[in-house]
Amino acid sequence: MVRLKDLPTEELFTSGHRLCAGCGAGIIMRMTMKALRGPTIVVSATGCVEVASTIYPYTSWKVSWVHVAFENAAAVASGIEAAYKAMRRRGAWDKHVDIIAIVGDGGTFDIGIQALSGALERGHDFLYICYDNEAYMNTGIQRSSATPHGAATTTSPAGRKIPGKPEFKKDLIGICAAHGIKYAATASPAYWNDYITKVRKGLEVDGPAVIHVFSPCPLGMRHDSSKSIEIARLAVQTRYWPVYEVENGKYKLNIKVPRPKPLIEFLKMQGRFRHLFQPEFRHEIDALQKWVDENWRRILSLCGEKV
């Protein structure tokens, strides 16, 4: 727990990046940089953050930063971690280096899941942050396996026959926790204290840690740029995005939502769900609400909370 005025004022993720106005990822990057504790290397995968923050010759990063490709941030991080380990052993390096892989949902859920799984299984000491804007936003809003059921994307459009994405969202933290890692957590940038605390916790863990943070996208989710944090808050308050952590396999609910707002409050703020409000697709909203409820019950039961 920390107070805003005690957070460092130095911006290690500077202004001048080309992320959209109101981009959730921009907020998340800044918050992440507030939680650092020492020499840090950020490994980014191809995506919104990578592209917008490093258009040659401009870079927003004041920490060492590496981008290699789309699907391999976890593998690159593994190599960096192994290198410092070896160099330290032969006396050529003396500092501890925190390695943070910052990857979108595209580079995590889909093309990057293999590299992530491998890195988690091998137990490298690094923090993996997945900023989830729920689609391949950088290439123009194509669906990912993190896109929720019913959402309209360009590869799962709101058509006359099929209204948005038929599939439901993957449980990333469940997958990560199944690797037996020491720390995995979800977060929302609306709850800055919870998120920043979790980033620090993830860095302090000896071994892999994963944080899955909701990243509102004005352009892709089709909401007003001023509403990003409001939507990030609503996501939690409607139980759509449960905020919990898994420490050594033990689930703990961080943000209790005893009186949830109806999911429709969250959906109606985003144009990507607009078509679901048509009478012929209204049942999809019910399906989504059902999924949210079931997911919440599942998480609650894992957390040992009363359903």
Partner: protein, 94 residues
């Protein structure tokens, strides 16, 4: 942004960028359609606008905050989140 571009002989190899934070030379304030105006008398210095700004465009002062209009993109998150509603979004005029 009208600097002469370097050639292969003088550029660092591999496309490496050796100046951290060089993005500060790119003034994203030009993007704005609306600008936030802070009523600094009403501001309670809670710093929520500061932490929620995607572009680090809120300046922390002693007793209140101000806006760095060089980079502010006018997203309006600060105005939306301000607990005392002391920030108003006003149409940008150039």
């Amino acid at each position: 942004m009208s600097e002469k571009k370097l050639g292969w002989k003088s550029l660092p190899i591999g496309g490496y960028l050796l100046e951290p934070g060089s993005a500060m030379k790119y003034k994203t304030g030009e993007w704005r359609a609306f600008r936030p105006i802070i009523d600094q008398e009403k501001c309670v210095n809670c710093l929520l606008c500061w932490i929620y700004c995607p572009d680090s465009a809120i300046i922390r002062l002693e007793k209140f905050v101000d806006v760095n209009y060089d980079y502010c993109k006018g997203c309006g998150i600060c105005a939306n989140e301000c607990p005392v509603k002391c920030i108003t979004m006003v149409e940008e005029r150039r």
